[in-house]
Point group: C2
Chain length 115, copies 2
């Protein structure tokens, strides 16, 4: 019987070598290697994180903050390299979500049986 940790490491290696991960890596490095694109991307991430934290803590988000966030989103969407990165992130997140569903299936079946 193969060890589950060995199987997990096989999957990790496969993910690392996959087209999905390599495309994400290339897109990420392209953004990071251009200082002005990197700054735009960092700014976008900071704005998102800041709004998420406020929302989670039940703080009010002002109209000014909403407008500023919209401007930042508009800006990054016009940047081809950042759009590509966001697309590749979405693609890998979908793959990881699918994988997660596959490996938790035994548990789901067990707990679903008697309900």
């Amino acid at each position: 019987m193969p060890n589950i940790y060995d199987l997990a490491y096989d999957l990790e290696k496969g993910l690392r070598e996959s087209d999905e991960f390599q495309a994400l890596k290339n897109a990420y490095e392209k953004v990071m290697n251009d200082p002005s694109t990197k700054q735009m991307f960092d700014n976008f991430r900071d704005t998102q994180l800041n709004l998420q934290q406020k929302q989670m803590q039940g703080e009010e988000i002002t109209e000014e903050e909403v407008n500023k966030a919209k401007q930042v989103v508009d800006l990054v969407q016009q940047n081809e390299d950042i759009s590509k990165l966001m697309e590749e992130e979405q693609r890998l997140n979908t793959a990881i979500g699918d994988i997660s569903k596959i490996i938790t299936k035994p548990l789901e079946e067990l707990y679903g049986e008697d309900q």
Copy 2:
């Protein structure tokens, strides 16, 4: 290059055949096959879920509810089969947490590089 979904299915199969999962399955079935133990376990789960939902919705939890929950926990802890099940659940959750850390390592490394 192996397909990541094939590797995920290999891991799923490995998990299903693992000692950890088989022990959980046996413990779960033992609880489910004894009607009075099953009822005690269902009652415990319902109480937990109810309190969690109240907490998440910011509702107040009364002292009576806290005391009732404590009684239910005391009761299930005295039941050997339920204690065993909870122990096996904990063991498999730890394994799945470890696996999750292993397979998200490529992403963590990529996003950690420039920060």
